[in-house]
């Protein structure tokens, strides 16, 4: 058997859908019916999940650390906002793709700066790019509306059929559909030979180069792709909330995103998704409990998560499910550890 066929077989094996994945998405869809009064926060979670997915592509798969991912989110958000505000492209789905492409262009151009240097340099460069864009948006407040943001954005119905409603129902289904479509794409990509080569680069760029992986070209490609994802997340934000102001570029947004991946785990696609759910729920829970000091409790939980370690927590969380599965199938349950932690 040739090496190529080996890779193909390995990739196919790992790309197979598991029942629990299908259940995950069914559950996500069910949320719409379980919590019909919470569409806005659920849309928020879906947008954050998509944004986290974007960071996971570069951080979890290619090992590029970034503290400035909000740059692309912001470009997408403003692009979608301006397109709608000036009536250039009124159909949301087309505008969404255009906003994503705009972010992609910015991503492509800045990727050349990012691939130079290693982790610390990259942190600084990405942070710098986001700050730069934020300052530009502030400087050209005649276009961006500055701190007050774009006022009076009105979204046309999706595909001319579904109008956005005040309580976010359409917005939620729209966001979820976009997330699902892009998730499928991401899933396809990370299980392709391209995705495998990214993992090789993450583990050891030098060795990857030695076996013939064009490291820089791959990094540029994935960075550009991630920018596209982040741009779409930003555009979704503007379209579903009809708001776009300077805080789309805010450093907190990029930093929160890191936290999401810390909670959910990087290097597997569901990490960002679960992280987004847990992070927003924690925020919601604590800020309801104490509107003034909730940040303290979030901080505390994060410290605990990092100290205890995700793997151990997963094991505790899965003690009961594993037990049930163990009893039902009559075999010893397997304790789950994410690959990234096991290695």
């Amino acid at each position: 058997m040739t090496a190529q066929a080996d890779v193909g077989r390995y990739a196919r094996q790992h790309a197979r859908w598991h029942w629990s994945e299908i259940a995950f998405w069914v559950l996500a869809l069910c949320c719409a019916f379980l919590f019909p009064s919470r569409f806005l926060i659920m849309s928020d979670i879906v947008r954050l999940a998509l944004f986290a997915l974007s960071l996971d592509l570069i951080l979890g798969y290619a090992g590029i650390v970034s503290l400035g991912h909000a740059a692309f989110f912001g470009v997408g958000a403003y692009c979608a906002g301006l397109l709608a505000l000036h009536g250039i492209v009124t159909e949301p789905v087309v505008a969404l793709v255009m906003a994503g492409l705009a972010a992609m262009v910015v991503g492509f151009l800045t990727s050349f700066l990012v691939i130079r240097g290693v982790d610390l340099t990259r942190l600084m460069v990405t942070l710098g790019i986001a700050l730069l864009l934020e300052a530009l948006a502030e400087r050209f407040s005649n276009i961006t509306g500055g701190t007050d943001g774009l006022q009076g954005i009105e979204m046309a119905p999706i595909l001319g059929l579904f109008a956005f409603d005040m309580f976010g129902k359409v917005g939620f289904f729209y966001s979820l559909a976009v997330l699902f479509a892009l998730f499928l794409l991401a899933r396809r990509i990370v299980h392709s030979p391209f995705g495998l080569s990214l993992r090789a680069i993450k583990n050891n760029p030098l060795r990857a180069a030695a076996v013939g992986v064009p490291v820089n070209r791959r990094l540029i490609a994935v960075y550009t792709l991630a920018a596209f994802y982040a741009g779409i997340a930003g555009a979704l934000f503007t379209q579903t909330t009809a708001l776009a102001s300077l805080d789309v570029f805010a450093f907190e947004r990029s930093a929160d995103l890191m936290l999401v991946l810390v909670i959910g785990g990087s290097g597997y696609l569901y990490g960002g998704l679960i992280g987004a759910v847990v992070f927003r729920m924690l925020q919601e829970f604590f800020s309801n409990l104490t509107p003034q000091y909730w940040q303290f409790w979030i901080g505390l939980v994060l410290v605990v998560i990092v100290l205890v370690g995700r793997a151990r927590m997963h094991r505790w969380a899965l003690w009961a499910p594993n037990l049930i599965i163990g009893l039902l199938s009559g075999r010893k349950a397997i304790v789950a550890v994410p690959e990234s932690d096991a290695s």
């Binding site: 995950f24 998704l273 599965i325």
Partner: protein, 392 residues
């Protein structure tokens, strides 16, 4: 691989069901007020003052009006409008609130406006000060102020008091632009001249480079608007750059001399003349009592944001008394229109046409009273309407 997916499934399910489940329904007879304020982030001082004042009002006046219990649900929006919108929606749909109130910044108040209209619920704006806000929904009533009210008056005062050249420094967002435009309009109409115009980013207020430009322009005075909470930092840098010794005095709407921070500003603030709706030194019995009980409860001096929150609660209480505890939105708004009362800041009323506040604007000078800095009022303009709307 598949083991991991089981794990994620379980983790996801636990998290979602645990946190999204709606809170149990409360007793039916309580009147609920959703208070949305920036309790964290750059505008947190606004939120804190209003929250304190609301608590104080309820301590003093009891938590029952017209036979119904008042319940406050406080939410933190960190002054980010998409949070405000989400929280307002959840308060209306899930908690079934009868009022939404608070709103630290203009974009937040605007984001909630369509929800108030759709749900027919009064939106009591206790802070945000841009003129347009009350025009965005027939259910918005404001108990704070508009920048036009104080900016036009300080402009007229400056013209009359021999100030010819003014440099302006304003925060670059809607209220700052309102302040600047209304000041400029009245000041230049009176023959004054603007020699330098600087807009400072709202989020990152490092005033030093801007202050240097002010100094170089050599104006008679500088017109300053920064939102509540940033005044202390501004005056510190003003003194560090030596502008207090260069003879360039600060004038402006009173936001920069917020009572909350005034005493910590040091002697550089002495002699600053501002026009505003409230001073903790306002010489009325009502105010003396208000300041004393606020200080006793929270250990600090109340600022104009506290007074706006206090009056907001008063408005809600009085409206409920008028409707006999009925919480129909239209009836409440009707009850609020034209309402008059004596506030710690002086006599105020709600303009029946615009649902905006009509109040006295005072010209004040910073002086030392009993060793503490206070804005001492020396001239009063009575019953000032929002000129941002009357001009139209």
């Amino acid at each position: 691989m598949f083991v991991r997916s089981q794990m994620l499934l379980a983790a996801g399910a636990v998290a979602v069901i645990g946190a999204l489940a709606p809170a149990p329904a409360q007793a039916q007879d309580a009147v609920k007020i959703g208070l949305i304020l920036p309790m964290t982030g750059g505008q947190a001082s606004t939120g804190k003052q209003i929250d304190n004042a609301v608590k104080l009002y309820m301590q003093q006046n009891g938590d029952t009006v017209a036979g119904r219990k008042i319940e406050i649900i406080l939410k933190d929006d960190a002054a980010i409008p998409d949070n405000t919108k989400r929280l307002a929606q959840e308060l209306i749909v899930n908690d079934k609130v009868n009022f939404i109130a608070g709103f630290g910044v203009t974009p937040a108040a605007l984001a909630a406006a369509p929800l108030a209209t759709q749900a027919k619920i009064p939106e009591i704006v206790m802070a945000a000060g841009t003129s347009i806000i009350t025009e965005r929904s027939p259910y918005i009533v404001r108990t704070s102020f508009t920048l036009a009210q104080s900016s036009t008056i300080i402009a007229d005062w400056a013209v009359k008091n021999g100030i010819k050249k003014v440099a302006t420094l304003t925060s670059d967002y809607a209220p700052g632009n309102d302040a600047l435009n209304f000041f400029k309009q009245n000041f230049t109409a009176g023959g004054g001249q603007i020699v330098e115009e600087v807009k400072v980013p709202l989020a990152n207020p490092d005033f030093a480079p801007f202050l240097q430009r002010m100094k170089d322009a050599k104006p008679d005075a500088m017109f300053v608007f920064v939102p509540a909470g940033q005044g202390g930092n501004f005056m510190k840098q003003y003194a560090e750059r030596g502008l207090d010794k260069s003879g360039i005095k600060v004038i402006g709407p009173g936001d920069v001399m917020d009572d909350d921070l005034l005493d910590g500003m040091g002697d550089a603030a002495l002699g600053t003349v501002t026009a505003h709706l409230y001073s903790a030194a306002h010489p009325s019995a009502k105010n003396k009592e208000f300041v004393a009980s606020y200080k006793k409860a929270f250990g600090s001096r109340p600022g104009f944001m506290a007074v706006s929150g206090y009056d907001g609660m008063h408005l809600i209480y009085e409206a409920l008394k008028k409707t006999g505890g009925k919480t129909d939105g239209d009836a409440l708004i009707e009850a609020m229109k034209g309402m008059k009362w004596e506030s710690p800041r002086g006599p105020v009323s709600i303009d029946p046409e615009t649902r905006d506040i009509v109040q006295n604007i005072y010209i004040r000078k910073v002086e030392k009273v009993n060793g503490e800095l206070y804005n001492v009022e020396f001239q009063t303009f009575e019953a000032v309407k929002d000129s941002g709307k009357t001009k139209k």
